[in-house]
């Protein structure tokens, strides 16, 4: 990411509560530059997944403003649903198609794209995410990393302006983590803007352009990986002792 990129997403004072007593997100404000890789981390129960769902429009926030690509989409749930791509943590529950190809086509059919456009996007995504040889395979017979890439593919074909991933490395072995992380970095190089939610910062911190730390529903720390590194362990995030920012990646191993 080149410095001083325009903002793609700006969130101001987002509040979400389940009831009068149970506040999940409190005054959450942050911005995401175009083409950046933002790491959103925090301990379990901090509200990370809920924040993603509020951004996407799957949960109704009580207060706050969301500006996407210069337009206020706080009240335009349909716009957010169409322009923000969300990949959930459990890849198995996102699979709908009987084959890899049909699963990827599913989202494009929902958008009403014509067959020619569908075929074009399908081929591009299959090549980009290295799934071309598995196109006729049943999704549930794929490996963990392949399933995660399929889940990403299914969302990517819908051409979202912002790609948000919720714990994409959960339950993956080392090889699968490397495969998914390499894919995400490739997507960023292609110009996609990515928000990645993970509490396993040792896998990804060195690749992030900015880090947001969420704890008990509030952003308690934000900045570049170097700025944020000394404070991470104070907020319940594990770090190998004495690790520098450059060490915190699984791609180097």
């Amino acid at each position: 990411m080149t410095p001083n990129q325009p903002e793609l997403l700006s969130v101001t004072a987002l509040n979400f509560s389940l009831s009068k007593e149970k506040h999940i997100l409190k005054d959450v404000s942050f911005s995401v530059p175009q083409g950046s890789f933002t790491l959103l981390c925090g301990p379990n129960g901090s509200g990370k997944s809920v924040l993603l769902r509020c951004l996407k429009g799957l949960e109704q926030m009580q207060e706050g403003t969301i500006v996407l690509d210069g337009k206020d989409v706080s009240k335009d749930r349909k716009k957010r649903m169409q322009t923000i791509g969300l990949v959930f943590q459990d890849a198995d529950t996102q699979m709908v198609g009987q084959t890899v190809e049909k699963d990827i086509r599913f989202g494009m059919e929902n958008l009403g794209l014509d067959l020619e456009e569908q075929n074009l996007r399908l081929e591009q995504v299959l090549q980009l995410l290295d799934l071309a040889s598995q196109r006729s395979q049943r999704p549930r017979t794929l490996s963990g990393g392949e399933k995660r890439r399929l889940a990403i593919a299914g969302v990517l074909v819908m051409d979202p302006k912002l790609l948000v991933l919720d714990e994409p490395f959960a339950n993956l072995d080392y090889r699968s983590v490397v495969s998914v992380l390499s894919t995400l970095l490739k997507l960023q190089k292609e110009g996609h803007t990515i928000i990645l939610v993970s509490h396993e910062v040792d896998k990804t911190l060195s690749h992030a352009d900015q880090v947001l730390v969420l704890e008990a529903g509030r952003i308690v720390s934000s900045g570049s990986p170097r700025e944020v590194l000394p404070t991470l362990s104070l907020h319940g995030i594990y770090l190998p002792e004495g690790a520098a920012v450059e060490d915190l990646t699984w791609l180097k191993r």
């Binding site: 799957l58 649903m81 699979m95 009987q98 017979t141």
Partner: protein
């Protein structure tokens, strides 16, 4: 792994795989109707064509070992009961072979038809009926198909976890109730996640989805089936 057990469809470049599911369904109907009236010669003709079809399709008979044992037993029962009822070996053999032909039809259809293609084809057909939302029917079938493996996997998870904790219930009523509530609870969670994932991909059940187009393969299959059916009635 439940997926491998439930769905037998294999993608191949055969006439049967290329044909539209509605035409395949129609072909099965024609053959079944012919089987009702056909004599032993006619049934043998239909059986021969189905066996040739199975050969062309390279039907993996060994995958159906468990089911075939059950069907073979049923066939034997039909043969026996028909013989006891009519004391006519030819009549009994015809009845048993008739049953075998229907089973073979079913196996061929399952092997050559993707379940979601069948759902869409049926949906597009039902859409032509006034006041029937074919697209919604097709979406419901497709979603049910995608949920079925989840149900089996969730059940297996729960049962295995309980076995690992040495659960032993002597009272079957309590065992079933306890198991069902765990499985149901797990399925509700998974269903909620699936529902969110569908919403995130802008799913609309009433949206019409493209099915397989009709082609020359369909015309060939229908013609061939009709000729076989007609031939079986003549013999």
């Amino acid at each position: 792994m439940a997926e491998a057990l439930i769905f037998h469809y294999r993608e191949q470049r055969t006439l049967l795989c290329r044909a539209n599911p509605v035409i395949k369904f129609l072909a099965v109907l024609i053959l079944c109707l012919a089987l009702i009236r056909a004599s032993l010669g006619g049934v043998l003709l239909i059986m021969l064509s189905l066996v040739i079809g199975a050969g062309v399709q390279k039907l993996p008979i060994t995958h159906y070992k468990r089911e075939l044992r059950f069907f073979t037993l049923l066939m034997a029962m039909i043969l026996l009961t028909e013989y006891l009822a009519h004391q006519d070996l030819l009549l009994s053999a015809t009845a048993a072979l008739r049953f075998f032909c229907i089973i073979l039809c079913g196996m061929l259809i399952a092997d050559a038809t993707a379940p979601d293609d069948l759902a869409r084809a049926l949906g597009n057909l039902l859409d032509r009926i006034p006041f029937v939302h074919g697209a919604v029917v097709a979406s419901t079938i497709e979603l049910t198909l995608s949920i079925l493996p989840l149900i089996f996997d969730a059940s297996l998870e729960v049962v295995t976890a309980r076995k690992a904790r040495l659960e032993r219930r002597k009272n079957p009523y309590r065992a079933i109730t306890s198991l069902s509530s765990s499985i149901f609870s797990l399925l509700l969670d998974k269903a909620q996640e699936l529902s969110l994932a569908l919403e995130a991909r802008n799913f609309d059940p009433s949206r019409k989805r493209p099915g397989l187009p009709y082609s020359a393969s369909d015309f060939m299959l229908l013609t061939f089936t009709t000729l076989i059916a007609a031939g079986s009635l003549v013999l």
